[in-house]
Homo-oligomer: 118 residues x 2
DNA sequence: TTGATATATTCCGATATGGGTATACGATGC
DNA sequence: GCATCGTATACCCATATCGGAATATATCAA
């Protein structure tokens, strides 16, 4: 138990730049493995291995077509990432800066009125 | 060159569940290390190490206060993640489903007219 | 059947990683 | 100065992971 599993979820799958490249390449449609090999300039086994990881977290689907294996993006698996990181959007979005100020003011007011719990 | 660097960017920093927990814990304000230790139920050295990674990718800032080290969230470092994953939002958002249909129709039409390249 | 093409799997070696434990370092208090 | 608290670092170990090369598997062609 020296190291927690890593490639088991979308966050880890996507932590690898090559895998993000693969997903990006699949963004505009299905692609065969060799197609990706050419696009990414990686060795074929490496690509297959990355695709396996992406498959295991559900980020891509496969479909056999003759001797080819066509991979297709399944962005649904990325939703958890989006959901998580969205919570931090306020940290960089000016749109939220103003909102934060307002919330602060409200909190102050509540405290002044009769805020108690917590 | 057997393995690419991993913890060097925000994607990797955040791939580790504990580190996400730490960020989540910092969401509502500065916290001292021991505070996080208690909150996460991890050993102190582990927490310090995770904090180091988060610091190195800029996801947290530190401030010395007496013998304490107060860590504060810096969500700005997470923006690249948000930006990247946002591009895939259409994959799960129904709001985009209809748009995709329309685009498909347009593509079909173009092909019928005089589509050629690729 | 044999051969070629497309892809997946296996084995290997190098390295990064995370947890555990001990220890070093810095600030504070006595 | 010495003890203590809060935190960071060093060291070790087990394992995961990546890339590379070789090989296995599947499909199609002749």
């Amino acid at each position: 138990m020296a190291r927690a599993a890593t490639t088991a979820d979308a966050f880890n799958a996507v932590a690898e730049p090559r895998r993000r490249q693969i997903l990006d390449a699949l963004a505009d449609g299905e692609r065969a493995v060799n197609d990706l090999v050419r696009l990414l300039g990686l060795a074929q086994p490496q690509v297959s291995k990355h695709l396996r990881v992406l498959r295991e977290v559900g980020a891509v689907d496969v479909r056999g077509e003759g001797r080819q294996r066509l991979y297709r993006l399944n962005g649904h698996a990325l939703k958890p990432i989006h959901d998580w990181v969205k919570g931090y959007e306020r940290s960089w979005s000016e749109r939220f800066d103003r909102l934060d100020e307002v919330l602060e003011e409200l909190k102050d007011k509540e405290r002044g009125d009769g805020g108690d719990d917590e």
